[in-house]
Chain length 358, copies 4
């Protein structure tokens, strides 16, 4: 453990330490949410509104954390969520995160708006399981080029973000001097290292479920649909070719006062969980959060901001610390819950917390 990590015992510790380490601009960009940040705050709080009902004397001390995800066995259910512009916080950028992912056998999902193009990441960190997050641009040629690059460089899945037809109202960013016009401007070649003000306006917000079906049919890769918050949309995703859905509110950065992943997950899992994989993100900060997500029907969880906190603090080593802390907590939480493996977890392990629903 490096000097920088000496007193970091939880993701909250990493967050607090990163508060001081990041620039004002980076902190606003990473930690900010939409409007009053009601949903941003609730992403964290929602997991705490769930109580765990453990089982004693199960004889479990070393639980099996492995899961089946998109038909493949993975050693654990943690996936790194796509986040933009890691170079904002550390020069090691996305390759630093990917190295931490490789060391911990974690899936790394690269963002369209990453500071590192998909080909470069694959070259620099070849030994990590990679997914590629896709925004569809008005310039469909640029979009196809991105997909082709992902396919060509060993990315195993496409993650299509569907909750960003326009950019949310991000006041922390605006206070830092950026003001984005809500009406999208015309597409243009994609500068991978630019700030959101330049690139974000080129996203094609007029995408429909028919477009999803066409994209899914044009690629060999499984397409995960990210940004689902209702059973209705989960059903539509399943009916239009999605391989999996990711229950997500975009880290509370798009439409304020939507449900958290924790609250939307049960109805989505109930609607489509028997047909395709359901993943969830938003506010996953503790091993117990992951146990709850799995018990409520998720196959895996995505973790985003904490990787940027860790990266900003200590480069790849900081990102690895975040993953190691989560994995240690998950192992302890499974043992104390009394589940020998992830497949044993179901809704009987979770109930509304009396401290929240008295």
């Amino acid at each position: 453990m490096s000097e920088a990590q000496l007193d970091l015992h939880s993701l909250a510790d990493v967050r607090d330490a990163a508060e001081n380490a990041l620039s004002d601009r980076a902190r606003a960009y990473i930690n900010g949410g939409a409007a009053d940040e009601t949903t941003l705050a609730d992403n964290d709080a929602a997991w705490s509104r769930l109580a765990l009902d453990p089982r004693m004397l199960s004889g479990v001390t070393e639980p099996d954390l492995s899961v089946t995800l998109l038909g493949r066995r993975r050693p654990h259910p943690i996936v790194i969520a796509p986040t933009a512009f890691a170079a904002l916080v550390h020069t090691e950028a996305e390759p630093g995160i990917a190295r931490a992912a490789a060391d911990t056998r974690t899936v790394m999902c690269l963002s369209t708006f990453a500071s590192t193009p998909p080909a470069e990441l694959a070259e620099r960190v070849p030994d990590v399981t990679r997914w590629f997050q896709l925004y569809v641009f008005r310039d469909r040629g640029a979009t196809r080029a991105l997909i082709a690059a992902a396919e060509a460089h060993g990315y195993e899945a496409l993650v299509l973000t569907v909750d960003r037809p326009v950019l949310g109202i991000r006041e922390r960013e605006r206070r830092m001097g950026v003001r984005v016009d809500p009406v999208n401007t015309i597409g243009s070649p994609l500068p991978m290292n630019s700030l959101p003000v330049d690139t974000s306006t080129r996203v094609d917000g007029s995408l429909t479920w028919t477009d999803l079906e066409r994209f899914a049919s044009e690629t060999e890769l499984p397409v995960l649909v990210k940004g689902i918050l209702t059973a209705r949309d989960a059903r539509l995703a399943a009916d239009h070719g999605a391989a999996a859905v990711i229950v997500s509110n975009h880290g509370g950065r798009q439409l304020d006062t939507t449900l958290s992943g924790a609250d939307a997950l049960p109805e989505v899992a109930d609607a489509v969980g028997s047909e395709l994989d359901v993943l969830v993100d938003g506010g996953v900060r503790r091993g117990t959060d992951i146990v709850k997500a799995l018990a409520l029907g998720a196959r895996a969880v995505l973790v985003g901001r904490p990787l940027l906190w860790g990266l900003g603090l200590d480069g790849s080593a900081g990102a690895r610390l975040v993953l190691e802390l989560l994995l240690e907590e998950l192992e302890i939480a499974m043992a104390l819950t009394g589940a020998a493996s992830v497949s044993e977890l179901d809704q009987s392990f979770v109930r509304p917390a009396p401290w929240a629903r008295p």
Copy 2:
């Protein structure tokens, strides 16, 4: 954007900036509510107790914000609520607000207790859609003169306020040195530029539903009844000639511990929404608040205090900023909610927020 507006990204920013800009007396008068200000605070909080369920991949980036209000098409659902004595905060007074309304194609509702008489406002800002808010005075001649003035100067509707038989207990105002006797004194000629202590005691609190029916029959203008909080009273309004009802608790200034507009709206819309227009006010500060109001059955929302904050801060330009911020937020909220037009919104887009009803 003027210098004064440089760091104003939301109505909350405008409010905070106005806190410093206004005189103690003006701040107490504008921002105060009745008694413990329970209802005043809840007006804001109630919208946050509702969660939005958005729909993805609807293909909407430029939603149609237009609504039909009192049988006419309006470009958006925002109406400026009647507020008294705008001259307290800025010399541009009501004409300043009306100018901002004209620039943004917003309906302007002038108060009986405005600093500017209805004729003068019509003359100074002829190109704004104007409504006139009516208090009925013990001196019915004065009342009829007001109605005649409104009719003569192109006001398109009368808004009859019904929740002020006596003045509420406004402690902030009292602390500023005003103490109003709850028993109304005898009517007298109406000084338009005086303080509430002089004028308010002349309002006739003994008005009944029969009086409403008579007023409605004596004017060509549609009469909106403002101050409805229950299905019972909405039914009575509909049965006594109201063209529309405005769900309102008078900005939390009359009877403390009544419901907010957000909470009273559903039962009112359910009771009379199929017969006449339902509007709502109280605590509308975000584009998402407006989407929720529309989804719950409102045709339009009224916004009051924020216009006075904006006016006090920067005259007409400040009032315009408030309207522009709200319109920008509304457009983004509609796009992210996935509703192409207001008519698509219904109760399926809204649910009790888990963070409030865990």
Copy 3:
């Protein structure tokens, strides 16, 4: 209005001003509650968990506040609750409170532990309607002497306190140096001007419902039973000769974590309200609190601590201010609720507040 009253616009203002005016000992004795003071705090909060549903255009500006209490018409529903040792806060003591009661036509209930004996109060303030609050002592002769004194000096009712078999855990008092043994000691002659540590231990905690029946049969005066919190006990009181019950938790000073009067009232009113008068106390600080109590089935409310705050601040004039503020608020609240008289109020005017039961 005296100098001391210049900026007092509510009972909360009086409380805050009295905080500074009272001695540490008096403040601890008056404002303290039992144990963690959960119930003490909830007495105030419980009224705020109820919302009012007003009726508009009722034509009411000067509502009739009169009520029938113990078979007699009273001009309003406010009763001064029995409180001990008023001399602790001001030399005018109970006669000062009684004078304020007489001036406002309020019923004054004198405590067994008052600083002023019942005969003396009757002599000094003959023109006030008086009730006498009774503790039963182990020395039944002393008890009978008290009753006889009350009967002889024009007290119109006896209020038997039943929730004090032993003294509650009053930590604020203990911190001031008083520590009471929970086991009652042997009775002895009653020193009217002593502190609770001396007198309280002589109360007979072993009283039963049979004792109530005997007391009720031995006096001409109606006996009100104070300290009822459940339908069960209200039923027992009705069956054992009570003329009325007072829903009360003794100002949060006895058993901590019991219900507030506001929460216990509906089930008590439902159980016995058709047979006898139901009164309520605890946390009544606003005119709207009184309207809610009446709507939920109370005939009258008792107010205790605020009179001591007022008395401590400005003698009898301070006590009168408290009553005048409450009466002014009650009148406004009735007018804004749209009830022309108390008899019009029923449960349809009250609902659980959305801000508390979201």
Copy 4:
């Protein structure tokens, strides 16, 4: 009362005073909980979410506090919970606590991880009713030696802790420099006076219900199973030889976000209360907490941290003060609740508190 106890009127006072008296390390070890300490905080809060419905005029001033526990009559329902390493806070250590227990006729449960071996405690304080809390070690010989020592020295029961297959995430301890590997290491001889980092890793986390059955059959002593939070596990305990179950979340030190004892108790009592004794611990700090536990079906309550606060503050005298305060409060709470004896208490005395479930 010693100088140190002069202003201590409740367990909260003792806690606050101990905050200053304890070393940083001891404070972290005693007061800390797992992860975000959600469950730790809720242990206290959960009792306050229950309201008491007292009965008046029951004639009770000196209630009978005695209970039947494990078939024997005990003068009151308080048991001292097993806690580790009392020598951390005071040289009088466990014998100091046991002396206080003897003086107040309280059951003392000694921890496997106590600073004092079972034989030594029995020798130094022979006149206290003793139970022995058992962790099962990988070295079963060491475990059997512990049981034999307990049997040989007059311990009347074994308390098997079942909620610690691995150590919880105790961040306060980690911040003090201790970091425990979650995977248990190989057993070794048991050093009774060492710190948790050394001993805790030898606990055998792979214990099952079959092991419980074998242990129960191998000893004459009744086996209480500590750490039950669900009806399911209570049923399993009853079916595998437990003489009693202790509803407990290990003082919030193991799996965060589990239920509090107060919340888990009703379903456990409902499941097995008619067959065996149910005890509860976690956050018991007031006499009213104990009355609630008894009313919800518990035979007794365990109290842990407060004894260490008292011991740390003033040795055995401080521990005795804690027990005396609780017993005084319990007596008063019973009298004010109107229950003449513990057997009269049932669920009709308790309801969800309106201030928590509005």
